[in-house]
């Protein structure tokens, strides 16, 4: 599904995650009988439904959750899947888009903050691979960080893809004709998207300016137990 990079306006493609594997991020946050279950993972939407039930059963069993969780989990995953599938048939415009992806997460004792540019046109991109390499390079020992990073990236990509779909839909309704539509996706969708032409034109250089270096560096923090507790308490309070 690689589109030629020459024209800035490309024919609309069918909606899909702009990654090598069409996996979607799923987030669960269910509360039953005072027990709270929060989780997030990647799911393959083409797995059969039996897979879903199987997964829910195992999760309930492994984590020793109350059996009331089972239908809720199944329902939640199914609704997120349905949302994805509803977008699936539609078109999305992908211009020359390089988007910044921001990471700002806390997983157990590790806090990671990072920012980098991601090419939306590259349908061979692999957030999992990226997350694995990042963890290895930064020497992160907690194995749960990797999946969280991959998930965060996927979620952001998903958001952007959805925005592209909605902008495509609006463009179709918009009667100004094709010419105007050319500029719409680029300028309208997600103002943080950089214009390739501007970035790599002959006037500016490809090398990043020094003052921007700090923005794009990964910051890794290991918290102590008290910090973790304090943060968790704060999150719960803000969540309520």
């Amino acid at each position: 599904m690689k589109s030629p990079a020459s024209a800035s306006w490309k024919a609309p493609l069918k909606f899909r995650m702009p990654t090598a594997e069409n996996l979607i991020p799923i987030r669960l946050d269910i509360e039953v009988d005072g027990q709270r279950y929060k989780d997030a993972f990647t799911w393959n939407p083409y797995d059969p439904d039996s897979e879903l039930v199987m997964f829910a059963k195992r999760t309930v069993k492994d984590l020793k959750l109350a059996p009331g969780f089972l239908p809720q989990i199944v329902q939640s995953i199914q609704s997120q899947l349905a949302t994805f599938q509803s977008y699936e048939g539609q078109d999305m415009y992908v211009g020359d888009k390089i988007v910044p992806i921001k990471l700002d997460l806390r997983v157990n004792h590790t806090v990671i903050r990072d920012q980098f540019l991601w090419d939306l046109n590259n349908f061979d991109s692999d957030p999992e691979e990226f997350a694995r390499t990042l963890c290895k390079d930064l020497g992160i020992e907690d194995p749960e960080v990797g999946p969280a990073i991959a998930l965060a990236i996927r979620e952001q990509l998903y958001e952007i893809a959805i925005q592209n779909v909605t902008s495509a839909r609006e463009n179709r309704i918009n009667k100004k004709g094709r010419r105007a539509a050319e500029h719409f996706p680029i300028s309208k969708a997600s103002g943080a998207a950089l214009d390739l032409m501007k970035l790599f034109s002959f006037r500016s250089s490809v090398v990043r300016k020094r003052k921007e270096w700090d923005n794009y560096k990964p910051i890794l923090d290991l918290l102590s137990n008290e910090d973790v507790d304090a943060l968790e308490a704060k999150e719960e309070r803000s969540g309520r």
Binding site: E51, F55, R132, P143
Partner: protein
Amino acid sequence: MAEKSPVKEAASSESVPISNSVQLKPSPQFSAKFTTPTPPNSDVPSTPTNRPPPVDADVIHVPSYSRWFSWDKIDSCESRFLPEFFDGRSPSKGPSLYMYYRNSIIKLFRENPSRKITFTDARRNLVGDVGSIRRVFDFLDHWGLINYSASSALSKPSKDTASNIKSSDSPSLESPSTAAPTPKQSSTSRRFCGACKSLCTIACFVCDKYDSTLCARCYVRGNFRVGLSNADFRRVEISDEANADWSEKETLLLLEATMHYGDDWKKVAQHVGGRTEKDCVAHFVKLPFGEEYLGHPLLDDAESGFETNKRVRLTPLSDASNPIMAQAAFLSALAGVEIAEAAAQAAVNILSKVDDTTASRGDNGSLERNSRQESEISSNGDTNQNASERAYADANSQLNKEEEDIGRAITEITEVQMKEIQDKILRFEEMDLLVEKERQQLESMKNLLFIDQLNLSFRRN
């Protein structure tokens, strides 16, 4: 099984019957291992040199059927059971990804081998989509590479799912009623569906490729693993006899009756009592012939299961009216002629020895019967040999015929192509002629024009 010797021994003796039933794939290395079970101690060296075993020498028990495992390599059975990583359909899901999943799950388990790791632990720590992680986890679980500690109370090693191997015998089933079955039950097995774990009653669908069993409902709903289609399943009827299992006594009566009455199944049914004729015949045919009595591994159930497809055509006496001979012929054809002969001879010898020493035993009758049957088998070996030779010659002649056919077809094709080329050449020649004529015409016209020009210039001057 074995007496309570050190844990390792117990594990090894447990491994053998498990491998008996889980041995579904016929790669020759498995049958070799099958006859020489070594204690699982020797499995620790499966960890290669670059991963030193933990200093306090915790021995990790791995069942003998998983001896192929190594950190750096991918075995063929892995690529068979988890083809999604190896068929190149998606660019990022490759063998290296599979190895990353597999090695991390196993490392995670081995950090704390006395505790079973759950799927959720594993998937929380791995980057990737949970569906494929689950499949790898189930695969490892089923092959005993994780969660296999002999100390666990209820060894329910794997959760069968539609994508997993289905063994027709007890260990991987969850229902507690499977405490009952003896090794005999491997032939009259209760079929449990791999996907929904319900007892299959009427008919079940077996997939030979991945050897999974589905009940009719799951099959219809399409509850099979990714990559399979409806066509891969074949229908297997389960008779009601599976619900009423044959006890030892009944089987004994049946055998006695068969010896006495031979083919008269009415009398046999009477003798057995409580079974219809059809049941008797069906059960008799299904008996794993002579195995329990002799303790001889005449055959490998697994081998027969696989090779049935290939060798079905070669059973020479398959339509013999005598069911004993049919069974014997079938089995010996599957095992191979020399093997069957050797086994039969050995069995007869040992039986005669055993006969002498245990002459007063109550089960003498059955032994005698079996010795008679064994001698019949050995005499059958000869006829089998001729039959298989004939079959071999037939196969050869068919091969030759096919080769000739192919040769002929190729020559025809080349002839046709040459004719085509000839026709083309002819046509080109004709075209050439035409073009030549045109050229000459043009030349003459040019000449005329020249003459006219000359005339004109003459007139002027």
